[in-house]
């Protein structure tokens, strides 16, 4: 068996983390993208920049600040302790929060592009056909933004699978709790277990290639991303 039980646990945890993060990002990212696509507020620039920060920041920077905020003396940490949740650092929940922030631009930007591409006209048409704004969103906007939704979901998932720095900073390396594939590879290399490292790293390589191949081979989703 080339993959040990610790490796399988790491893979399982990674898939769980990436799936949950993607679902949360689609729910949270859609209103943000919708707002960014349609607003004329001066806040558009600042909010867009904040969402895009993870594209340029080293993951350790995000991880570092999350560690401070979520930790026992941080603002969020104090809050979670006061409501009896304890601190979220070095927990799976903490990883989810970190991943959501870290992968946010990969979901929001394709969605925003898709919403911008739809333009105001279909919304006006829907209004003249008696659809209220919520109805319009579900019956017109979401179906027309489908390529952007698919692209965002794939990129958000794949990017979460590939994260390392943020995980290491706020999750540590706790087996079955916060140890994901990328940190498990790091462990193998540290322990000079190159064969195991090869198996995991190779799987990641093949997985990432297949995801991107699917993305770039499909004309529809490509246009929403570029």
């Amino acid at each position: 068996m080339p993959l040990g039980s610790a490796d399988l646990a790491a893979i399982w945890l990674t898939l769980k983390l990436a799936s949950l993060t993607t679902v949360i990002l689609l729910i949270v990212g859609t209103p943000i993208a919708l707002w960014l696509a349609h607003t004329r507020s001066w806040l558009k620039g600042p909010v867009g920049a904040v969402v895009a920060l993870p594209l340029v920041l080293p993951p350790t920077v995000i991880g570092f600040y999350l560690l401070l905020f979520l930790g026992p003396n941080g603002a969020i940490g104090q809050f979670t302790q006061s409501i009896g949740l304890g601190t979220l650092t070095f927990s799976f929940s903490g990883l989810v929060i970190g991943s959501v922030l870290y992968s946010m631009p990969f979901v929001v930007q394709p969605l925003q592009n898709a919403f911008v591409a739809i333009g105001p006209r279909p919304l006006e048409v829907a209004a003249t056909l008696r659809a209220n704004p919520w109805d319009t969103f579900f019956a017109v906007v979401l179906p027309l933004a489908r390529p952007g939704l698919i692209t965002g979901a794939i990129l958000g998932f794949a990017h979460t699978v590939g994260e390392f720095g943020v995980v290491l900073m706020i999750g540590g390396n706790i087996p079955e709790k916060t140890r994901v594939v990328s940190t498990q590879i790091y462990n193998h290399v540290e322990s000079m277990e190159y064969v195991q490292a090869h198996w995991l790293a190779g799987s990641m390589l093949v997985f990432s290639f297949l995801v991107l191949l699917a993305l770039y081979s499909s004309g529809k989703t490509k246009s929403a991303w570029s």
């Binding site: 006209r121 209004a127 056909l129 017109v140 489908r146």
Partner: protein, 362 residues
Amino acid sequence: MSSSIEVRLNVDFPEFAVNVDLSLPGRGVTALYGHSGSGKTTCLRCIAGLEKASSGFIAINGEVWQDSANGIFVAPHKRSLGYVFQEASLFAHLTVRGNLEFGFKRIAAGERRVNLEQAAALLGIDHLLSRQPDKLSGGERQRVGIARALLTSPRLLLLDEPLAALDAQRKGEILPYLERLHDELDIPMLYVSHSQDEVARLADHLVLLSGGKALASGPIGETLARLDLPLAMGDDAGVVIEGSVSAYDDAYQLVTVRLPYSELTIRVAHAPLGMETPLRFKVQARDVSLSLRADDQSSILNRLPVTVTSEVPADNAAHVLVRLDAAGTPLLARITRYSRDQLQLHPGQQLWAQIKSVALLA
């Protein structure tokens, strides 16, 4: 005033203002005519609620859609209107049937006065129902757009230059359908256009817009004949007359049309038509010449006794534009200033108008 459309709008956009106060007939086709930038599309969008006028009052046959003085602004999706956009703007994710059903499904069953089969048949799109919008021609798309708007059984149909994005051939393909809507449905229509040709064919009432203001609003025949409007100046100037068939000459294939308000008739080459069929035709000012005598030794078929009402200089120094009265029906004649002086034209003068050609519109 319950059977009418009241529109008072004040729009103050940074580089654009619209101020109109219109009282329009609650039935038939009203054309909002003007050049681009005249404010006609803005008026239509405000009536639909897609744009919010800074202040205004909009009531459609008694139903108030906006009344700024009393803080009333009905959201667009709560207004019983159909809107046909310049580009058909069909939903790309739905089939033709899906597009047609979109509005139909969203009105109460009791309010449905048009069903899908009727609308599809009226616009000749029955065979396209399972297609995707991107598999349709421009003319077909626009017909689906019109049918989709009709299927909400609106109290008012708004059409924003529905033919402007189409080439001449496609326009010719759609105009008959629009005429059918006019003839077969009792839904008032506001039709925005910058094409005199479309207006002449479709409109019963004409509003002339310029620089965000209404220069004129009145029945089409009367308004087109007004000499004080820029309408009369163009090479296209002329009047629209609605008459009815009073006889048919089988031997010569000529239909006789009686003018409204009088027993005067004109004759036009046409296939046989039933008695009393309403006919709309345009007489262009440049096709009308004037003569002091009834000249029956001429190939010109139509001669009407007329009275000179008034005259104005035309858009060039060589011509004048003369308004005539043919027993209640206004006519325009564009003649040279030289001829005017030769005939010693003056208001009240009685003479003969010779009509060189008549364009049947519907």
